[in-house]
């Protein structure tokens, strides 16, 4: 903030004169022009107290050399003074003068003014006149006082040529009273302080205007991962629908639970090394429930529970091979098996289960495929469930994420029958797109577990990555998952609202 006293002085002057120029005021008050400008700027920021208009004027300023001459006299005058009445040896004169180039100029100028003369043989310089009038000094002095009337154009040119003066452009302000002119300006406060509140002084204060067009300061913050924000929403939906979360924190599964329990034959392509990650350590699982395994073996190899089976030589070595689970349905199978164990000799207790967790496929990676991704899965087991129930359930589920038009296409899954792909109508693509998979778990899967024959289990699933990519407009899955994520994207990522509202 500019000097408060100066601001007050300016206002007083303005009330007397109505109008003045900052530059002339600077000369009048002998105050540095920059200070005056500072004060004017402060006044400008206070609203319409003053009216100001900027203008540019040209001004002659002394150079450093010119300034020196105002104090000491021109070089030629200095030479004349140095010589004294007795005269002086030329080389001594040059030495005494100090600055050799200035001495040279002074000497030749004094010579051409005929102030001095030199004896050509002895090289002694003598005064030729008894007194001199240092016109250069006089002119420079006048210029320094802005007293330009007595300096003519030719003289100015001469001084410019000698680099004693230069032309500068000066910005100055013409000031007059503004609409809200007042003598009594309170300095505007940047903002209210605790002290003002305590003292009550805020009542008398004026506050500087805020710039409402500027952006605010970003809050200090952390961020949640976009995919996990979407995971949270789906998790929430299942909970709202009364589903219980399955403990899917087991990435390593035996082939038994990942495949055999699901009635996936041992020679099925999904079990190829090309598609599934097998483990070298620990290569095999330690145990499998023996009785149950025997029933699974029977239903695969010879057929049982009303099924023809696949009629092949089922091998225990194959079932014990550990894999990185290829679907969370491995955990669903464990949960259904548990349900079957609980209902031994008791009434069957219905269950609605869900999970959202990682699964692994030995895929070749590209913009839409990763070797590990998240699967969303829902399972309902109860007496008397129908295919219509499954479709109704899926409809309700997707309604919660804003998907309204659904239809179902017959498909094939090894462990569900009937099996249905879930399609939704994509409003902007104007076509039906697949959004999930579903089905009724096969009796060959449920009956060996020991579940009562009248119990049906409905299952449906979808990937978590794709809806997230659609929601947030991400084209490449690697920009979303894994360490190559762009943190700036995470920083700017909006909250996850999936439903239409």
């Amino acid at each position: 903030m500019a000097d408060k006293k100066l601001i007050e002085d300016i206002l007083v002057l303005l009330s007397e004169r109505c109008r003045f120029n900052s530059l002339s005021l600077s000369i009048e008050l002998s105050i540095d022009h920059q200070k005056i400008v500072g004060a004017i700027k402060s006044l400008q920021s206070l609203g319409d107290i003053i009216k100001s208009e900027q203008n540019e004027t040209k001004r002659l300023d002394l150079t450093r050399e010119g300034q020196q001459m105002v104090e000491k006299g021109s070089h030629e005058a200095v030479v004349w003074k140095l010589i004294g009445e007795e005269g002086m040896d030329q080389s001594k004169l040059m030495k005494e003068f100090g600055d050799p180039s200035a001495a040279k100029v002074g000497f030749s100028k004094a010579m051409s003014q005929k102030w001095i003369e030199i004896d050509k043989t002895s090289k002694v310089v003598k005064r030729k006149v008894e007194a001199i009038e240092d016109e250069v000094q006089l002119l420079l002095h006048r210029i320094s006082r802005m007293d330009l009337n007595e300096v003519n154009e030719q003289q100015k040119q001469e001084l410019k040529k000698r680099k004693l003066i230069q032309e500068v452009i000066v910005k100055s302000y013409d000031i007059e009273k503004g609409v809200n002119f007042t003598l009594n300006v309170e300095k505007q406060e940047t903002d209210i302080t605790g002290e003002m509140i305590a003292k009550g002084s805020w009542k008398e204060k004026q506050f500087k205007d805020y710039n409402f067009d500027a952006m605010g300061i970003p809050p200090e913050r952390g961020h949640l991962h976009p995919l996990l924000k979407v995971r949270e929403q789906f998790r929430q939906i299942f909970l709202e629908m009364g589903f219980t979360e399955m403990p899917t924190n087991r990435f390593i599964e035996s082939s038994f639970w990942n495949f055999d329990a699901l009635f996936v034959p041992q020679k099925h392509p999904a079990r190829d090394l090309q598609d599934t990650f097998y483990l070298s350590d620990p290569q095999t699982c330690n145990d499998v429930p023996v009785d149950y395994m025997e029933r699974v073996k029977a239903v695969h190899s010879t057929g049982d529970f009303g099924s023809q089976g696949y009629q092949y030589d089922w091998k225990i070595e194959e079932t014990k091979k550990n894999v990185l689970r290829t679907h969370t349905t491995a955990v669903s199978a464990r949960m259904l098996y548990q349900l079957a164990q609980q209902c031994k000799g008791q009434a069957f207790k219905p269950a609605k289960l869900f999970s959202i967790d990682r699964v692994f496929r030995n895929e070749t990676l590209d913009a839409t495929h990763l070797a590990e991704f998240h699967q969303i899965e829902g399972v309902v087991a109860d007496v008397g469930l129908t295919l219509g129930d499954l479709m109704g359930l899926i409809k309700e589920f997707f309604l919660k994420v804003g998907v309204k038009r659904l239809r179902f296409k017959p498909t094939y899954n090894p462990y569900t029958e009937p099996s249905m792909e879930v399609y939704s109508y994509h409003e902007s693509l104007k076509k039906w797109v697949e959004i999930g998979n579903s089905g009724v778990f096969r009796p060959e899967m449920l009956l060996p577990m020991g579940l009562p024959p009248n119990v049906n289990a409905l299952g449906f699933g979808l990937g978590l990555e794709r809806p997230t990519m659609i929601k947030y407009g991400i084209d490449n899955i690697r920009d979303l998952c894994g360490h190559k994520i762009d943190l700036q994207m995470v920083y700017e990522n909006p909250v996850c609202i999936l439903e239409n509202h």
Partner: protein, 597 residues
């Protein structure tokens, strides 16, 4: 899912309907197949081999149709058209029959004991009076190819050979001989080769190379020859040129060799049924008597119809529809399943030999559902009443994610699989590798082991985000994997919580502050006297951290985590340049403690 290419105009001609693309797509949707792509031979060739090579290729529209993986009867245009015509009510269900000729004309295939060493089973059948056109011939070859890929598991289980019966003379023998004792002129070659030479020849053949391993190391190779010792084929690799089928072939001898007799019967039934519509006597196949090496003698193909009795209630109650026996009978017929109404409650369904996907009544149920139309079934909400529960570990995880992000940290999500170096060498912790699970068949280094720590993922994330202004404050709560012989599968997940602070100064006190906050919100008090209930940190040595700048986190006298300034070598191993503090806790150990309280 397998895909077949069919000529659109031929398809529509055979279906006797000119569909719009949209209408055909709709039919596919209803029936459970998928019109995957509309293309032409020219387009496909251009895509695979470049524009130049596609010149002159046919421009007829080709539909690429995706077939469910268990429907081998739809893998050729003959099967697909028949199924769709019946579905549309334009054709009757055929009856496939095997005809056994009089004893004198009955062809025989005799399996010799040597085959036990390599590929023990064989089956055979004859199609008589075929009139090949180019399209039928192509389809015939194509179906063999498709079956080889799918049901035959790339010829390991079953291999198909088809021969011009009129060029050879039965009985036929299936034997296995020493490779150098097999010599014949194979398809597409001009001279004879021994089997050894053939294996050499085909080792550079893209098409045949993938099958060589099936017999390569066997001391004897399978071979089929006729009574005059003319070699028909060397399964599962190549047929002889002598008996090759051509457009002029009328009578086809089909042999299949196998390691799985059941599968061989299925493949034979499927294959001959598909082309039996071209037989002189439509839908018939001539039987061949096969003597297996155990001297058991059977006629093939079996073409056996199976009957299943299913109640009307079963369909209605499982699908959520209410149809009469008669109505269901009609629905079944649209799906090529012959059936008869026994009474109001019961139906007898006749499953044809081509529907090997029908293993259980539920498969018949699905067909009724498809015929009824899934989308015509009323959508109902299950009446199942349950109360939902969160998995406790996930619940706490979610609460902590919020708490830590509120502290100014940004959540990341990295992969559970990583390279050995990521957890070992680069983290200066080679002993991690003995605790980790190892993947047997990773395609790249990035999937060699299950991670035992979240820190490498955090460091790699920083590396990918060097342009972001400092400081970087990141965290992840995810599962790591440890070997554990006490577990059923020999391994277990453990939920970890890791955070990292990356800036121009190490910021130990900053990461320490986060630790204090986390434990505070978990209601674990600070233990000033460093024993009993509560937490404290104490100096520790860990090669991942700078000496003297590392502490372990102790909760109730149990170490649950580690924190400190990362070792400069670790920083440079991950191509980073600034000092960095990190914290890693076992969330599971923390909340297990909590539960025990």
């Amino acid at each position: 899912m397998p895909t077949i290419n069919v000529n659109r105009d031929l398809l529509f001609k055979l279906l006797d309907t000119h569909f719009t693309e949209e209408a055909f797509d709709e039919l596919c949707f209803e029936f459970g197949i998928e019109l995957d792509e509309v293309t032409s031979e020219k387009q496909m060739k251009a895509k695979e081999q470049g524009m130049d090579r596609s010149k002159g290729a046919a421009e007829d529209v080709i539909y690429r149709i995706e077939i469910p993986a268990n429907r081998y009867d739809l893998l050729c245009i003959e099967g697909l058209v028949r199924a769709l015509l019946i579905f549309l009510g334009k054709a009757q269900i055929p009856e496939y029959r095997a005809i056994t000729p009089p004893k004198a004309q009955l062809q025989q295939l005799i399996v010799l004991p040597n085959t036990m060493q390599v590929r023990p089973y064989a089956v055979a059948a004859i199609l008589r009076g075929i009139h090949f056109t180019q399209e039928i011939y192509d389809s015939f070859i194509d179906l063999q190819e498709k079956l080889h890929q799918n049901l035959c598991r790339k010829r390991t289980l079953v291999a198909i050979g088809a021969h011009d019966l009129d060029t050879v003379k039965g009985p036929f023998f299936y034997d296995a001989r020493v490779p150098n004792d097999i010599k014949f002129r194979p398809l597409k070659q001009t001279k004879e080769y021994t089997a050894t030479e053939l294996m050499e020849l085909y080792s550079t053949d893209d098409h045949l190379k993938p099958f060589l391993h099936i017999i390569k190391d066997s001391p004897v190779y399978p071979v089929i020859y006729d009574q005059n010792n003319v070699i028909l084929s060397m399964p599962p690799i190549i047929n002889g040129d002598h008996s090759k089928i051509t457009l002029k072939t009328k009578n086809i001898f089909i042999e299949m060799t196998a390691t799985d007799l059941y599968k061989a019967k299925l493949v034979l039934d499927t294959f001959v049924s598909m082309f039996s519509e071209y037989s002189e006597q439509k839908f018939t196949v001539e039987s061949v008597e096969v003597t297996q090496s155990d001297t058991s003698r059977d006629l093939f193909p079996t073409l056996k119809y199976r009957e299943e009795t299913v109640s009307v209630d079963y369909f209605n109650k499982n699908l959520g529809i209410s149809q009469t026996a008669q109505q269901i009978n009609t629905l079944l017929k649209r799906m090529s399943l012959g059936s008869e109404v026994i009474d109001e409650q019961l139906l007898r369904v006749r499953i044809p030999p081509i529907r090997q996907d029908i293993l259980h009544a539920c498969d018949i149920l699905e067909d009724v559902g498809i015929a009824y139309g899934y989308n015509n079934i009323e959508f109902t909400v299950p009446k199942t009443q349950t109360i939902g529960h969160q998995f406790f570990l996930n619940k706490v995880t979610d609460q902590l994610r919020y708490e830590i992000s509120r502290c100014g940290y940004t959540e990341i999500l990295t992969f559970s699989l990583c390279s050995r170096d990521d957890i070992g060498e680069k983290m200066r912790r080679k002993d991690s590798l003995s605790k980790a699970v190892h993947v047997a068949n990773p395609k790249t280094f990035d999937f060699q082991v299950g991670r035992t720590s979240l820190l490498p993922g955090l460091l790699k994330t920083i590396y990918s985000n060097k342009q972001i202004p400092l400081p970087l404050k990141l965290f992840e709560i995810s599962d790591v994997i440890f070997k554990d012989s006490n577990e059923e599968v020999g391994a277990r997940n453990e939920r970890y919580l890791s955070a990292i602070y990356y800036n121009k100064t190490p910021g130990f006190e900053i990461i320490h502050g986060l630790l204090d906050r986390i434990l505070h919100v978990l209601e674990i008090p600070f233990s000033a006297n460093k024993k009993g209930v509560g937490y404290f940190i104490r100096a520790a040595n860990d090669p991942r951290f700078l000496s003297g700048r590392c502490a372990e986190v102790v909760v109730n006298d149990k170490v649950v985590g580690i924190m400190g300034v990362l070792h400069p070598q670790v920083i440079t191993n991950f191509d980073l340049a600034q000092p960095c503090s990190a914290l890693e806790l076992s969330l599971q150990a923390l909340i297990t403690h909590d539960l025990n309280q």
